[in-house]
C-alpha cells in the first residue's frame, strides 16, 4: 500500500464500498458499549445516500468508519478492493486523503490559512507540487463561486461561503466518495439550499455522495435513505 498510488478505479462490480457484519464497540470501564451492530451496507458508485437517525444511533461512528478515521472492532469494510480493517495508520491517512472528501457541519477550515491554502491542504499531503496544487485550488474555488475571495481568511467569510470552501477542499484530490456530516446544519436555509445545489451537481457529475442529515428535504433528494437506530440499520431500501 505504501509508496504505491491509491487505486481509485473500482474493481468490485461498481461498488464504492461494502460493509459485512461490521461491528464497533467501545470499552467503557468494564462495560462494552456497542455502537454499531452487524452493519451490512453496500454503496454503489455514483449513489447519493442520506443517513438518518436520532442522536446516539451511531450515525457519526458509521461516518467515521466510512471515512477511515476509525477501524471496525469486527467485520469487514471493503473500500475500492481494500480491506480497511487490516490497514496501518499511515495507509488509512493515504486513503482518506486520496479517496474521500470530508465536509463537516462546522466547516472545519484552518483559521490561519486563506481560502486557497485551505483547499491546498489535502493536496499537500498527497505530495502535489506547490504550483500544481495552487492552480487546482484556484480552479476549485472558482467552481464553488469564490474566485474573488482567494486570499480571504475563513473568519472573513459567511457560513455558506465557508462551507463552499470546505466542499472545494473535499474535491481537492478528486475523490470518489464525498462524506458530508450535516453540511447544512449550521447554515440559514438560503445558504443551505445553495450548498445542497452544489452537492447535487457533484452527484450529477458522478461522485458518490454520503450525507448524514436531520433534514428530510435532503433525504428526499437523495437516491436512497439509510436509517440507523440503536446501532443497526433500520430500513434500507434495496439499492437500484
Amino acid at each position: 500500500m505504501r509508496d504505491r498510488d491509491v487505486d481509485k478505479t473500482n474493481k468490485t462490480n461498481g461498488q464504492a464500498l461494502r460493509m459485512d457484519r461490521l461491528c464497533k464497540s467501545y470499552q467503557l470501564g468494564s462495560m462494552e458499549l456497542k455502537v454499531l451492530r452487524d452493519i451490512d451496507l453496500t454503496i454503489n458508485n455514483g449513489e447519493y445516500i442520506a443517513i438518518m437517525g436520532p442522536s446516539g444511533s451511531g450515525k457519526s461512528t458509521l461516518l467515521n468508519m466510512i471515512g477511515c478515521l476509525d477501524r471496525p472492532t469486527s467485520g469487514d469494510y471493503w473500500l475500492g478492493g481494500e480491506n480497511v480493517a487490516l490497514l496501518e495508520d499511515d495507509d488509512l491517512s493515504l486513503i482518506r486523503g486520496a479517496r474521500i472528501g470530508f465536509v463537516f457541519q462546522s466547516f472545519n477550515l484552518i483559521s490561519q490559512l486563506n481560502v486557497v491554502e485551505n483547499i491546498e491542504v489535502p493536496m499537500y499531503y498527497q505530495g502535489c507540487s506547490e504550483r500544481e496544487s495552487e492552480q487546482r485550488a484556484k480552479k476549485l474555488a472558482d467552481m464553488v463561486g469564490l474566485g474573488d475571495r482567494l486570499k480571504h481568511r475563513p473568519t472573513e467569510l459567511s457560513g455558506g461561503q465557508q462551507q463552499r470552501v470546505a466542499i472545494a477542499r473535499s474535491l481537492a484530490n478528486d475523490p470518489l466518495i464525498i462524506l458530508a456530516d450535516e453540511p447544512t446544519g449550521n447554515l440559514d436555509s438560503e445558504s443551505g439550499a445553495e450548498i445542497l445545489k452544489i452537492l447535487d451537481r457533484l452527484h450529477n457529475e458522478g461522485k458518490t455522495l454520503i450525507v448524514v442529515t436531520h433534514d428530510p428535504g435532503i433525504a428526499k433528494t437523495a437516491g436512497r435513505l439509510v436509517e440507523l437506530f440503536d446501532g443497526r440499520i433500520k430500513r434500507q431500501p434495496k439499492s437500484e
Partner: protein, 434 residues
C-alpha cells in the same frame, strides 16, 4: 521530494510562529540567553586559560628552572644580630649539572639584582640579569636591535648591557637606545642591544614562586637589563645587605639566583628534573632551592582550566536547559490549542509523520533562530568584557559549533515530545475538540 516537502513545512511553521509573534520571541529569548551565556562563559574561560598558558610557555617547556630560595629562618644560632648567611645556588652547582647530566643542552646561570637604572635625569626600577651569552637559547624573546651579550663581553667583563623593550619605553622615550649609557648604582653601562620583554616577573608570579630570595624585591612587572655575569660579579659582588625589621641588618651571600637548564626534548624534562633534584639534594643541606618545571605547570594549568571551563559551561548549560523547557512548555500549549487543526489535517490525509514534522519544524526554527541570535549576542559579550573588563577572551570555533549544536539538539529533544503528542491524538476526538 524531501527537500521540497521540507521547504513547505518550514513555510508553514514560520507562518504559525509569525501569528504569535510575542509568544515566539519570548520563547526564543530563553534560548538566546542560554546560548549566549554558553559562548560567553567558554570564551572567558578559554581566554583566561590561554593567558595563563602563554605566561608559562614563555618560561619554555623544555626548561627546568632552579631558583635560589631563602631557607627557613634558623632561630638565632649565635645570638648576634649581624650574621652572614650563606645559601642558594652556586657556580659549582652549574658545573656539576654540566658534568653529570648528559642530556642537558644548555645551562644558563643567572644573577638577579633589583636596582634602579638612570638615564640622564630619568630613573626606573629594573631588575639586573647577570647572565651568559647563550641566554637567548632558553627564552623565546627575540633580539630587536643590536646584539646580545657575547663571550668576549663575558671574558673582558665589559661594561655593556642589553635592555628589554619595557626599559626602552620607560627610559629612552624617543631616543635611540643603542650606544647610550645607563647608570646602575655608580657605574655606566653602554647599551648594545634591545630584546623583547618577556615579563619574567609575571611568569614567576603565575608560578606562585614569588617569594624566592631577593630576586623579585622590586615587584613583579619591571623591565630587565642584561649584563655579562662576570661584570655583575665584579661590580655588585655576591653579598647583599638587607635591613629587616627590628633585628637590624642581615647580611646574605648568594652566588646565583637562578640556573636554567634546557634539555633536548620535552620527553626528557621530567627524568632530568629527578636527576637534578637528587644531585642538588646531595650538596644542599638546607632547603635553599626551588625547582620549577614549566611543562608540569603547563599541564596543571591546562587541567585546572579545563575544570574551570566545564564548571562555567555547565552553569550556562543549565540556563539553556531552562530555555529548552520553556520551549517545550509553549509547544505543548500550542499543540493543545491547535488540537482541532491537527484533527482536520489528519482527516484530510496527514500521516502521523507529517504532524510530527510540522511541530518539530516549528520548534527547530525557534531554537535555531535563538541559536543564531544567541551566537551573535554571545560573541558580543566577550568583546565587551575584553574592552571594559580588561580580561582576555577567546571565542573558539568549537564553542560556536557546540552552542549551535546544543540549540539544534534542544529543538529536537524538547520538540519531539509535543510533536509526538500531537501526532498521536485521536483524529475523531480532535475534530470534536472546541
Amino acid at each position: 521530494m524531501f527537500l521540497f516537502r521540507f521547504k513547505r513545512t518550514a513555510k508553514l511553521g514560520l507562518k504559525s510562529l509569525w501569528m504569535h509573534k510575542l509568544r515566539s520571541s519570548l520563547t526564543t529569548l530563553g534560548i538566546i540567553f542560554g546560548v549566549s551565556s554558553v559562548i560567553a562563559m567558554l570564551a572567558i574561560g578559554e581566554g583566561a586559560s590561554q593567558e595563563a598558558q602563554a605566561q608559562i610557555a614563555r618560561l619554555g617547556s623544555q626548561n627546568i628552572i632552579i631558583k635560589t630560595a631563602k631557607p627557613p629562618e634558623e632561630q638565632d644560632v649565635s645570638g648576634q644580630d649581624e650574621s652572614m648567611r650563606e645559601y642558594g645556588l652556586t657556580y659549582a652547582d652549574a658545573e656539576r649539572f654540566r658534568n653529570s647530566i648528559p642530556n642537558v643542552e644548555v645551562i644558563v646561570p643567572s644573577r638577579l639584582i633589583p636596582q634602579q637604572a638612570w638615564y640622564r635625569n630619568r630613573k626606573v626600577a629594573i631588575e639586573i640579569v647577570g647572565t651568559v651569552p647563550w641566554y637567548p637559547e632558553i627564552t623565546p624573546a627575540q633580539i630587536k636591535l643590536g646584539r646580545f651579550l657575547t663571550s668576549i663581553d663575558l671574558h673582558h667583563k665589559q661594561s655593556i648591557c642589553v635592555v628589554d623593550e619595557k626599559v626602552v619605553d620607560e627610559l629612552f622615550l624617543f631616543d635611540d637606545p643603542l650606544g647610550q649609557d645607563i647608570k646602575l648604582q655608580s657605574d655606566y653601562y653602554r647599551v648594545v642591544g634591545v630584546v623583547q620583554s618577556q615579563s619574567r616577573g609575571e611568569a614567576a608570579e603565575a608560578l606562585g614562586g614569588g617569594d624566592s630570595a631577593e630576586g623579585k624585591g622590586q615587584g613583579a612587572n619591571v623591565g630587565n637589563i642584561y649584563i655579562p655575569l662576570t661584570t655583575v660579579k665584579n661590580r655588585f659582588g655576591e653579598i647583599s645587605i638587607q635591613f629587616s625589621g627590628s633585628s637590624g641588618r642581615s647580611v646574605e651571600r648568594v652566588e646565583l639566583q637562578e640556573i636554567t637548564v634546557k634539555v633536548g626534548s620535552v620527553d626528557e624534562v621530567l627524568p632530568t628534573r629527578d636527576t637534578l633534584e637528587t644531585l642538588l639534594d646531595r650538596f644542599h643541606k638546607k632547603n635553599d632551592y626551588q625547582v620549577i618545571v614549566p611543562l608540569e605547570l603547563l599541564k596543571q594549568a591546562k587541567a585546572t582550566q579545563r575544570i574551570f571551563s566545564i564548571v562555567l559551561g555547565s552553569i550556562a548549560a543549565i540556563s539553556l536547559l531552562v530555555g529548552g523547557i520553556g520551549i517545550m512548555n509553549i509547544m505543548l500549549a500550542t499543540v493543545s490549542e491547535r488540537t482541532r487543526e491537527i484533527g482536520i489535517r489528519r482527516a484530510l490525509g496527514a500521516k502521523k509523520r507529517d504532524i510530527i514534522m510540522q511541530f518539530l519544524s516549528e520548534t527547530l526554527m525557534l531554537t535555531l533562530l535563538g541559536g543564531i541570535l544567541g551566537i551573535s549576542l554571545g560573541s558580543f559579550i566577550p568583546y565587551m568584557v575584553q574592552q571594559f573588563g580588561k580580561m582576555p577572551t577567546v571565542i573558539t570555533g568549537e564553542s560556536l559549533l557546540l552552542a549551535f549544536g546544543i540549540s539544534a539538539g534542544i529543538g529536537v529533544i524538547f520538540g519531539l515530545y509535543p510533536a509526538y503528542r500531537a501526532a498521536n491524538m485521536d483524529p475523531i476526538e480532535s475534530l470534536r475538540h472546541e
